[in-house]
Each structure stands twice: as C-alpha cells, then as structure tokens.
Amino acid sequence: MSASAKEIEQLIGKEYKQGFVTELETDTFPPGLDEEVIYKLWKIKNEPEFMLEYRLKAFRHWQTMKSPEWAFVKFDPIDYQAVSYYSAPKRKEDGPKSLDEVDPQILEAYKKLGIPLDEQERLAGVAVDAVFDSVSVATTFKSKLKEAGVIFCPISEALREYPELVQQYLGSVVPTGDNFFAALNSAVFTDGSFVYIPKGVRCPMELSTYFRINAANTGQFERTLIIADEGSYVSYLEGCTAPMRDENQLHAAVVELIALDNAEIKYSTVQNWYPGDKEGKGGIYNFVTKRADCRGENSKVSWTQVETGSAITWKYPSCVLTGNNSIGEFYSVALTNNYQQADTGTKMIHIGKNTRSTIISKGISAGRAQNTYRGLVKVLKGAENARNYTQCDSLLVGDKCGAHTFPYVEVKQPSAQVEHEATTSKISEDQLFFCQQRGLSAEDAVSMIVNGFCKEVFKELPMEFAVEAQALLGLSLEGSVG
C-alpha cells in the first residue's frame, strides 16, 4: 500500500482505449417506440411473417410491464421513447457479399479493437461475426464452417434462410414475456448471431461475435440463439465495446442456448462496454438475459464471463437442467471500479435426475463501486441426486465500495446435495508484504494476487480470451490500489 495518492490518480485516470467513435453514415430510426416502429423494423429486415406477430406480442406484453427494481443497482429511469431502435451503417442494397465489400471504416474500427477481420481468414483460429450497432457486418470463415455443416450467421439472415429452424427455437428458452428487458428485446431486436451445430459435429473452430455500439442515442438489442444438436460441441466467444459518451446507452440483449442429448456448449464472454468516467458519468446499461436449456440427456452448458465494463450490469446467465444427467456450470469474474454497479450471478434450475451444477463467482469491488452476486439454486422434486456446489468470493479494494452476496437456495428433493460458500475479504496485508519483500511493486503484487484470486475462472476461458481478460483486469484495477 505504498502508492501515493498522485500515482493512484494517474492510474485511475487510465483511458478506456476502446472509447473512439467511428464516423459513418448510418440509417437510423428517429427515437421512439410504437407498433409502427416495430412494423418498419420488420419490413426493413425483410423477416418472415411469424416474426411480426412475435415482435408485436412481445411489445404488447412489454407495455404492461414495469422495469424491475429488485436488483441492487441505482439508476435514473430510462426514457424508452428517447432511444433509437435501429441504426445501421449505410450500404449498398444487397449488403456485403464478402469482406471486400464491407465499409473500410468499419473494418478500421474493428482493427482498432484488435479483431482484424481480413486477417482472420488467414490466421487459423476464430470465426467472427461482428455486430456494429444493430446489424451484423461481416461473418468470417463462413465457407469453412459450411463444410462441417455448421450454420453461423447473423440472426437476420437465419430468419430469411432457415425460418423454420429459428421459429422452432426462438423464445423457447426465454419467452417473450420473461422479464421487462427480455420482452423489450424480443420486440425490437435487430440482429445477433445464430448458430446451429448439426448432430454429432464438433465445431472445427471457436465461434466469436464482437459487439460494438457506435452511434449515439441508440440502444443495442441483439439476440443470440445457439442450438447444439445431439452429440455436438461448440465453443462460443463474445466480446463487447462501445465509444465513450456522456450519456448512458442501453444494451438489452437476449441469449438463448439449447443443448440437446449429449451436446455441449461453452459460452465465454468478455464484457468491456464503456463503464463511464470516474465521476460515474455515462457508460452502458447492460441489462442482459442469458439462459441455457440443457434439454437433452447428458448435455452440458458452461458459462464463463469476465465482466469489467458497463456502468450497470444486470445479468444472470442461467441453466435450466431439464435433461437427466445434464450439467450446468457458471464461472464469473466481475470487477467494478469507480461508480460501476454490477448485480450478476446465475440461476441453476435442477429438473432432471442426477443433474449437476457448479458455480464459481469472483467479485472484485474497488473505488465507489457496488458489486453484488445474486444466485438461485433450485432443486425441484423430481431432480433426484442433484448436486450443486457454489463458491462466491468477494475482494474489496478501498473502503468506499460494497460487495454483497445474495444466494437463494430452494430444495424440494432430499437426495439433493447443495453447498454454498461465500467469503468476503480484502487483500491480505501478509500476502502483499510477502510479494513486496520479494521485490514486486505494490501494484504488481496486487495485480498478481487478484489474478490468482480469479484463476479458477480464467482457466475456463479459451486461450486468447484468458490473455485479454487478464490484461483487462489489470487495466481496470491498477488505479484503485493505495
């Protein structure tokens, strides 16, 4: 704890390096939301008939709902009429057929973010679907995936090309009326990713989506739908950034995962939306509904998330363990600094027999941030031999922040074994002293200890992400130690 106040100031002042704005001509709807807007949206996206009905149903339901207030976050009411519900980079009629046709400025923007799309094809690695504001700009590696029978495309394209498949699964995990933000998303979602892994296929590469909010006063409402058919496997990565703006922007996404018999989905997120400045001005409101249905026997879904961005995070990636012997996992690192607020956790609903779930959550709170773990483990009557292990640890850095743990455990089955453990502490003086005594600076020591604290989660991340996550953690945290 040797760093002087001045050094701390400098470190806290570290720039959000993804905070640039790309000057683009965009097609943007005027702010406001009514049935007309939804009709226009449906029309412009050229979607099948059932979608109009789906969207309107969701919209009508949404109008009857109230913004939830139970989460441990504070924010001024959002004026949903002041948000534009569609913003797309202007482009030629047919949209880009290949990367060559993508607006070079967008490509430039992605390059700045460290995902050079055009290099992706050459580098063996990750297939990327990039969503810019509301529309999907480019999907790399399409051809190679096609060979394996994997469908990986923007959801708007999937709606046109595989309407039956989408209709069958869309909203089956997160129904239109599930919650306030999910209903809003169902009504106005503009794009997102769609993944279908056919029977017995092990997806040959990791799939990835990069989300970016660029235009001002727009909300981003993306929708991701991943279906892993019997015996298949897919690992999916998601990353997000946004420019620095003084006003708050809304991001209300819905992610649905469906794992059929013996299928496995691994979903990793590194969320680095703009967190607002150090006075708590601006930043993204990240209100996301993520849920997986382990529908098949022996299916498995694993969520890994590293949450470092956003002014407010409200997110509970959940698993409904319907199939017998299915497995749900949740690994999370949530870091909040300055005035960030995070209320995040998971729900594990055990329905099938011999279902197992693991929850590892690491919360780090610094500055004046509030970090809450909120989780539910529910074992229904039929879930014989269900097993859950939960561990939530919180680390406090500074005396103005808060760390809270709100687990809910509901068990109706005597053969179930549920364990929950939580601890809250600060970085131990002894550990710090030990590291410093071995010649490390206080900053490095803290960074090392925090990385160690999060190791259990980082080891679940795919290689590239783990590196990024560690770097992010260092960046977001460094300034707060003193």
């Binding site: 760390a403 068990v411 005597p414 074994q417 549920v418 453990e421 939580a422 809250t424 502490s425």
Partner: protein, 440 residues
C-alpha cells in the same frame, strides 16, 4: 385481498382500543395510532415482500383471532404447565398475553432488579417504559411489528441494573389457553452496563389454532452479558410470530439460542445491532414435521468497528414440512475489522419436505472478514457406512446421525433443566429417532 382482510382486524380495533393499556399516555397513544395506520395501509406481509417471499401468512388473515381484553380468570391445567416451568428459575407467566401473578414466581429476586408486567409499570413508572419502548425496532420494520405495537395488551419488563449478576435465569413463559385467541405481547429486556443475566422465553399453548405475536426489545448496555433462549413449542395448529430486536452497546455480549419446534406456521425474527467491539452469537435449531412451516429470519448489523458475530442455524425437515432460513449480515461503511461467520445446515428427511435458504452478505467496509456457508442434503453416506461397519443397522445408524445433527445445538445449553426440556421436545418430534440411551 390483503387490505380487505387486514381491515377486518382494523375494524375490530375500535372495540378493543379503550381497553388497551396506556390509554392515558399521549406518547403511547400516538405510537399505537401510527402503528395502526401503518398496519391498515399495508396489511400483513405478502409474498411480494422480499423478506417474506417464502412465508405465506394469509391464513392469519383468514382466521380472525380475538384478543382477550383483560386478564383471564380461567383455570389452566397446572400439571401440564409444570412441564414447562423450569426449576431454578424465576418465572414470569403471561396467560393469553396477560401477566398472571398467581402463576409467576418472583420470590427472592434481588431488590434492585425489576421484573414486572408492562401494564403495572405503565401505571407506576411510564417514563421508564417510554425511554426504551420502540427504540430497538420501529413500526416501519414490517407489518407484524406495527400490528404488535397497536394490539399488545401486556408483556414483561425486565431490567438488570448495572454491575449485577443474576444467579438464576429468568423464564418468560407465554401460555395461550383458548382457541382463536390472539396473544399480543410486548417485552422489554434491559441489561445495564456490566450486568450479567440469562433469560429463557418459552411459548406453549392448548392444542388449538391461535395466534401468538410477541415483540421483544432487548438492550445490552456497555460490557453487559446477556444470554437468551427461546423455546417455541406452540401447538401444532397455532400461528406464531416472535420478533427479538437487540441493540448491543460497546463491548456488550449477547447470545441467542432459538429452538423452533412448534406451530403450524412460525416466523421468528432475530435482529441485532452491534456496537463497537461487541460480540454476538446466534444459534438456532428448527425441527419441522407434518405440515409445519418454520421461518427463521436473522439480521446482524455491524454498525461499528471490531464487532464479532457468529451464527449457526440447523434445520431438520420431515414429512411435508418446510423450513426457511433467511440470514443477513450487513457491514456498515465504518465497521472496519468486522469478523462475521454464518452457517446454515439443513437435513431433508422426506420427499415432500422443502427448505429455502437465503444467507446474505451486504458489505460496505473493506477491512473485514466475512463468510457464510449453506448446505442442504442428506446424511453423510460415509458416516452411515462407518456405523454399519461397526454392526449398527442402517436405520439406527441414520437415526443416530440425525439425532446427533440436531443434538449439537442442544448440547450448547448449560442449564440442566432447560437442556432436559429441550432434549425431551426434540425426541418428542422424532420418536422413531429416540436413541438417547446407552451409547450417549
């Protein structure tokens, strides 16, 4: 529906208002009116309230329980009551919510110690009551507290003066003798600086539906040491609400042992505010059988630095019983060096039993050590196997282990007469597990 039935009670209020004690005291009258207003506005708590999400009290609304307006002259079965009167204790007995001088036994209490009925003190020395009443819990806490504040008819007032060591425990025995009776009592317990005392609250009643709603405010002043036991053995048809709200001053020590055995529906609140370097121990055991619903709600507020809190609650649920544990530890911004541990262990014995548990940590200070743990499950198979390998048949092995699980909380009682009574109550609830003999 909520407000409609709440107004049934509210409508009845005008009938009893004049008979309630303290009618001539403006401060109490005002407090009662505020509480009534609060209650008629909100009704009994609903499942929509976060702190009540697992406990549905609508049946209390449906039955209109009637308060007694003056002390009962009814004869009660003294032999039966004797079972619950502990030897080596001073007794203060409340029958249907009213003090009974006949049944109470306060012979030989030290002169400077006050153990009186609240009504008596309101007549004699209302100022003493005023300085404590409503200071540990406000009517805004929840509707039951408001309800109790508006409706209470009597209660006990216990004050241990500074530097006094009470060598015998004080037993506060609540008895309900009539069906459909509402017994609303309000108790004040004050342990002045450096005093030391033990108190035992016991709740019993006839085998009928009735509502016992008690609020106890406890003040543990600097360096005082108070131990409280609560043995809730209400009838299996009864409804029970018992709230204990504690304020601990600097360096004060407080232990609470909560045994929730009886009632069809019981809710127990233990809220503790911790002062500088104070220490608090909360232990609990809830045994649910048949269709019982046992809700235990605890809150520990670490308001100042250096306080230590330890909490262990255990539950055994059989048949169609449902157990609820909600425990919250709040560490305020200035409460550095807080050390807090909370543990909740549950054993489910039947396919229809249920347990809902919600341990919570809310922390605003950084230099703290806080942990909580929860388990729900069955007996450890390895332990069962171990016993079987020592020639104990499986059923006995399971019974032994179940008993041992619960008995851990009972063995914490040092007072022999209370220990035996609690143990007997445990065994009464699990007759097939009556295995105290021989090997123990």
């Amino acid at each position: 529906m909520t407000t409609q039935t709440a107004s049934r009670y509210t409508a009845e209020y005008s009938k009893i208002e004049a008979k309630l004690p303290g009618g001539s005291l403006p401060w109490l009258l005002e407090l009662r009116n505020d509480a009534l207003k609060q209650f008629s506005g909100r009704g009994f708590p609903s499942l929509r309230e976060e702190e009540w999400r697992y406990t549905n009290v609508s049946s209390i609304e449906k039955n209109l329980f009637e308060p007694r307006l003056e002390p009962s002259d009814q004869q009660i079965d003294k032999d039966w009551l004797k079972n619950y009167c502990l030897a080596d204790c001073w007794q203060i007995v409340l029958v249907d919510g009213y003090y009974s001088a006949e049944l109470s036994n306060l012979a030989g209490i030290p002169k400077n110690v006050t153990i009186k009925s609240l009504n008596e003190l309101l007549d004699a020395d209302a100022e003493q009551v005023e300085s404590y009443f409503g200071k540990a819990v406000s009517i805004d806490e929840h509707s039951f507290v408001a309800f109790n504040t508006a409706w209470f008819g009597d209660g006990a007032f216990i004050r241990i003066p500074a530097k006094t060591l009470l060598d015998k425990p004080v037993q506060l025995l609540h008895v309900v003798t009539d069906p459909n009776r509402l017994a609303a009592t309000r108790n004040l317990v004050i342990a002045e600086s450096m005093a030391q005392a033990q108190m035992i609250e016991t709740y019993v009643g006839v085998d009928q539906a009735y509502l016992s709603a008690a609020v106890t405010e406890v003040f543990v002043e600097p360096n005082a040491d108070l131990t409280m036991f609560k043995l809730q053995c209400e009838s299996e048809k009864a409804y029970h609400f018992g709230g204990t709200y504690v304020k601990q001053s600097r360096d004060a020590r407080f232990s609470h042992h909560n045994f929730a055995f009886g009632s069809l529906l019981a809710r127990s609140d233990i809220h503790v505010d911790l002062g500088h370097a104070s220490e608090c121990n909360l232990n609990g055991l809830y045994l649910g059988i048949k269709r019982q619903h046992l809700d235990n709600h605890t809150r520990i507020n670490h308001l100042e630095p250096y306080a230590v809190s330890r909490e262990v609650y255990k539950g055994v649920l059989d048949d169609r019983a449902r157990g609820v544990f909600q425990g919250r530890v709040v560490v305020a911004e200035d409460a550095q060096k807080t050390d807090s541990e909370m543990n909740n262990r549950n054993l489910l014995l039947s396919n229809d039993a249920e347990v809902d548990t919600k341990p919570q940590l809310e922390i605003y200070a950084d230099d703290v050590k806080c942990a909580h743990g929860v388990t729900v499950g069955q007996l450890d198979e390895k332990s069962v196997f171990y016993l079987q390998s020592r020639c104990v048949d499986e059923e006995t092995a399971r019974n032994m282990l179940t008993f041992a699980f619960a008995n851990e909380m009972v063995t914490k009682i040092k007072q022999k007469s209370l220990h035996d009574l609690v143990l007997a109550e445990v065994l009464k609830r699990f007759p097939q597990r009556g295995i105290t003999q021989d090997w123990l």
